[in-house]
Symmetry: D2
């Protein structure tokens, strides 16, 4: 009889919904090596967390996260709180011998990330940072194609994470736009995702040069009703955006790859446009999250008159394409939430077997170092070595 892993999740908002769904769904679709129990959910407000508990399918609720990390019942702690809480919670969880899944970015600083990794390593727990996009089937296929050498020597890695919700200066200040809670705004929030994908697919950063920037430095504290009078508009309270709301940088990876990354929430029409292009001496890859079930692969070894990006619908079963065999027939695509289910499925198996599962806290730490180096470069106006 398979072991049961009991999960405690700290946080109950957007990411709480996505993670709860993953914990519920993973055992329904994947033959996991352990059972999963959604044991306890934690939120700051008693009423909210009770509602969330019911809605999201947890057995118990608490407003004290220490209950979770200290409970002898809990095997895995899942941290989906704002960034400034990660380090304390993850370290406490690790110190109590819990496996830890932590939302990205791992920490507020390199120093925090180092401490988190050290704690996890010391306790020998399984530790994972939730860069869920690695487990999009198309990205997993990209990894496989690269691993098989089918791109040859890689020249370019190019990525852009573009959204548009800040394009409207009326979009209110939230925790992601404040240093105290988010670390470094759009830079740490979404640039970290494509930094992770660069490292995952193309190599480690050696040097970076770029900038972090704030296009709109002041925003209303709460959403302004669309039909507000000018007087009401003038009277409302504004708050300072003290983090970047965009970032762009060039970099060299350790194997001579030229990287070009950009993250912004000012690209009207781009909703969750994680666009990646990788060019090598034998082939190229292109991906866009807004068409997440597709991967485009240019095979430089195809017959010359038939060369062109293969528009691969990454939905083939029977082990042909990663993960999708557990879902639906070919052409019946997956959505955003599935990436989390794949994270949880792989994490559960890793915990069951006591094995490491990437991206680990070490990946989170390396990511944090790139984030910091870009910020340093932005400040100094020059290249910064890692």
């Amino acid at each position: 009889m398979a072991k049961t892993l009991r999960v405690g999740m700290i946080g109950c908002r957007f990411m709480g919904r996505a993670h709860s769904n993953a914990w519920r769904q993973a055992p329904r679709f994947f033959p996991l090596k352990a059972n999963v129990e959604l044991n306890t959910i934690c939120g700051r407000h008693a009423a909210n967390v009770q509602t969330a508990r019911l809605q999201l399918g947890w057995q118990k609720a608490t407003t004290d996260w220490r209950e979770i990390v200290e409970s002898p019942l809990i095997d895995i702690v899942d941290i989906v709180t704002p960034t400034h809480c990660h380090a304390e919670m993850a370290i406490a969880a690790a110190q109590n011998g819990k496996h830890v899944l932590c939302e990205k970015p791992l920490a507020m600083s390199v120093k925090q990330a180092e401490a988190m990794l050290a704690a996890a390593q010391k306790s020998k727990v399984v530790h994972m940072v939730c860069h869920n996009y690695r487990r999009i089937p198309a990205i997993a296929l990209a990894k496989k194609i690269i691993g098989e050498g089918d791109l040859g020597r890689i020249y370019h890695f190019r990525a852009r994470y573009a959204q548009d919700r800040l394009a409207d200066p009326e979009f209110p200040l939230d925790w992601r736009l404040q240093k105290a809670t988010s670390g470094s705004g759009v830079h740490s929030d979404i640039n970290s995702h494509i930094i992770d994908l660069a490292r995952h697919l193309a190599g480690e950063f050696k040097e970076v040069c770029g900038l972090v920037h704030t296009f709109v430095p002041e925003r209303p504290l709460v959403e302004t009703p669309a039909k507000s009078s000018p007087a009401a508009k003038a009277a409302r309270k504004m708050g300072k955006v003290d983090v970047p709301d965009s970032a762009a940088f060039l970099g060299w990876l350790d194997n001579g790859v030229l990287a070009n990354l950009e993250a912004t929430r000012y690209a009207l029409g781009r909703k969750n446009h994680i666009e990646i292009e990788i060019n090598g001496s034998r082939g190229s890859l292109y991906f866009d999250f807004e068409d997440m079930n597709r991967l485009k692969f240019y095979n430089g070894e195809d017959p010359r008159d038939r060369r062109g990006f293969h528009d691969i619908l990454v939905t083939e079963r029977d082990g042909v394409h990663p993960y999708v065999g557990h879902w639906w027939p070919p052409g019946h695509g997956l959505g955003y939430e599935h990436t989390f289910i794949h994270v949880v499925a792989d994490l559960v198996n890793a915990c069951a077997e006591g094995k490491a599962v990437a991206p680990t806290f070490e990946d989170g730490l390396k990511n944090q170092r790139v984030l910091a180096a870009v910020e340093e470069s932005s400040q100094k106006g020059r290249w910064v070595k890692l």
Copy 2:
């Protein structure tokens, strides 16, 4: 306190997985007007149905479908068996006062469909046929745009449902390729879906002319291992495909719309390509299920130099786009399974309020009439009036 609707599902294979998921997920994401209980699942083989029960999240399992339709506990019967079982089960369910959700095609014949509708109407139960594609957000948006008159007078409705799994003559005979179980093969299996979308979006069929066809009339009874010897290949048992494996027809809808529909499983590279184009005097729409989160809308009233199909990512919240507000942020797409969740969500609300919910058995019946008319046209080689 909200009422609880208890569900019994008959069938436990592919569609059983999709429906079970919908029953589990709908209450997690939609504020339903009743609670849902996955009460009983029914399958033919005791062992299989027990496995399915556990895997899919049902409380009880049975091998006798009559237990479900007769149980005083059950409120809704969900029928996901092969087509030849639908009529008997649905009629029995209705006669026992159960609401019924039935997979498509509704029946084996017009006559069966008539009896099913009559039974449902007589019992005043809620009846619904699972043409899940109506509840793709992009299709729901198409319906809204058409309803607001933004296509003007419709000239053309054009659809193709194309897959490729039969392109390989080695693909074995399954229940979908046999008359006794499927009714009319690809015609009833997938052509029925685009007939439903034509009726839903553009109007009722008045006349049709076309064909049903079988490209490969004989197939192996079981999957042939890829490396079989010629001798083994020669020795294996073959079975007759006695249903169409492709279909194509022209038709006139009641409002002067020219319809062109085609369904095939011989289109290599097309995995679940439900392609629809609608052209009117003021605008056009284009949809392809393989990019299910998008709808393309040409607005003939845009300024002349800015006209072009709007490539709408149908993922906006706050009531902007249908259904998606209950899911994830803009640009974070949905997948195949969500269409079933939307079906279940709307059905549960309809049952809770005792209201009808389309597509009803009447839609299923009208669909069946179109299917039959196309078959008659194919036989007679001429136009057939409905």
Copy 3:
């Protein structure tokens, strides 16, 4: 020293511009086997044809087409007049021993086309009908891929020629909308193009069933100024559209291919959308003229996890892709007019060598038979054999 072929062109409007350009440009870009001289252009109105002569680069002008077909100087007669003039002119030209290039559709009727072919054959001249789309590089590549067997057994040929200029009921009556001049409207004007491509790429028609239709049976005789008063609108003269303005049919080709063709000028947003899809047992092809430099090829023999339509930019030199080696570097696309230049280049070489060049008048005749069969089918409401 290469021979010089002297060309006389009858007609000087839209197609006259396209053909004149082709005659001027072909020798600049292709190493032709004969020199080309733009000798005489013919139009009905003396002033217009003089303007055209200067603008389009012809040495002489005439208003009497017999001068051209009877002139001992002329080697090639190029007929770009409305359809009802083709037969008389082409027959006279052939009888005078001229090679003939004739715009499509070849004729007003099968009978005319038969007479034209007979005259051309009797005089042993080179005869060609200007189905220019065969010489789009992407279509020429499609032909090559099919010829090499890379689609295997073909199941489906599907094409749609869609434009939108008639979607506006205010678009005035022109010669293409009147039986006396055009033959059968949209059916002969653009449906004939995709019939030609079906025959060129997939096989001969054996049987057809379909319809020709007129969505808007009455149109203003001249363009109505956009800001006309209702009174002015009511007062203007209207004329009858006595030809089809749309057509759709199914057909069987001689090798068991199911064909589905549709032509319309009521597809808002589709400007010159010649869309073709061909599905075979080993591969599929997709083409859309609005992206005329691309061909999509699905290779069923690619490794399973890398299968997807190859998005081929058909612009490779060094003989890799047809025709384009004579133009620009890879990725520097061609336009509409180049198709005519390719027609002329191949025709000149054929005339220089006294060889046949497809599509010949025989192709034009076969096309005419399909057109007629579809019209008969439309009238009789049933399948018609060819």
Copy 4:
């Protein structure tokens, strides 16, 4: 009677073909304010230039470019030689009172460009640098949309000019890969094009930071036959690539626009991929030269549920879309060569009226300053002000 402008062209290879075609074709399609005479073509080798004269349609040929710039007959000098020749020729032409069209990049250095501009201004001739991509209809439409304020405040300008012919290390050294003739390789050759488009569409550069790079520093002097033996391969002569073969930089434009530009010939599968995205507070634009007849426009003012990039086929006549009214009907696209025809048409009209026409040598000079600043930044590893 219109004046005739006599043209002398220096250079007779790739660009000579493109420009000759433009000089021949412009008067055929555009109602120019002066006649054009292709008077003299100049090349270094007597035999080659005679062949070119005949093939390309010039009246006279010479091997001495001074004959052209000094001839009293010549009105316009068109310079299509390698970059290192531009300055001397353009200055001599201007000093002789000739209007000058010069291929890009304008010069080998800022100093040369300054001298060229000074000479042209002093002589009051019309001067133009051939950044032909400004006159793609889609780019001209983009300019119009921006000019009308429909993007609002611009946040991002992002461009990539990607080709793939250097991805093969066997591609031989040519003049574009040598400092003495090309200036700065891929940087000046193609990066200059997107720098021009950034300036044209979004604003002047204030500061840049980036790099120029050489991925493959040594290449064979002549093309190596594909089937060469290893010995033959080892024995062949190699030459040093002493210019960048790739470049990437970030920049700030004077109105607060963040620019990100990249140019490379190492992007397998990208043939002439000039990709541009511009994001503003009210709208976004996207363009890719490989689909040169399309422009994508996201209108932030569309009704919320219908927002999506308008996929504009930029082929509408009647003045709706720039330039295309002189060509073919809607949907009948243009190709690469048309951009040069538009350049020539506008230049001829400017010369006829003695007006300036952008991009002038001043644009060429500003471009050169950006090129130089990026090189300086690359060397110093930090931001450089302009």
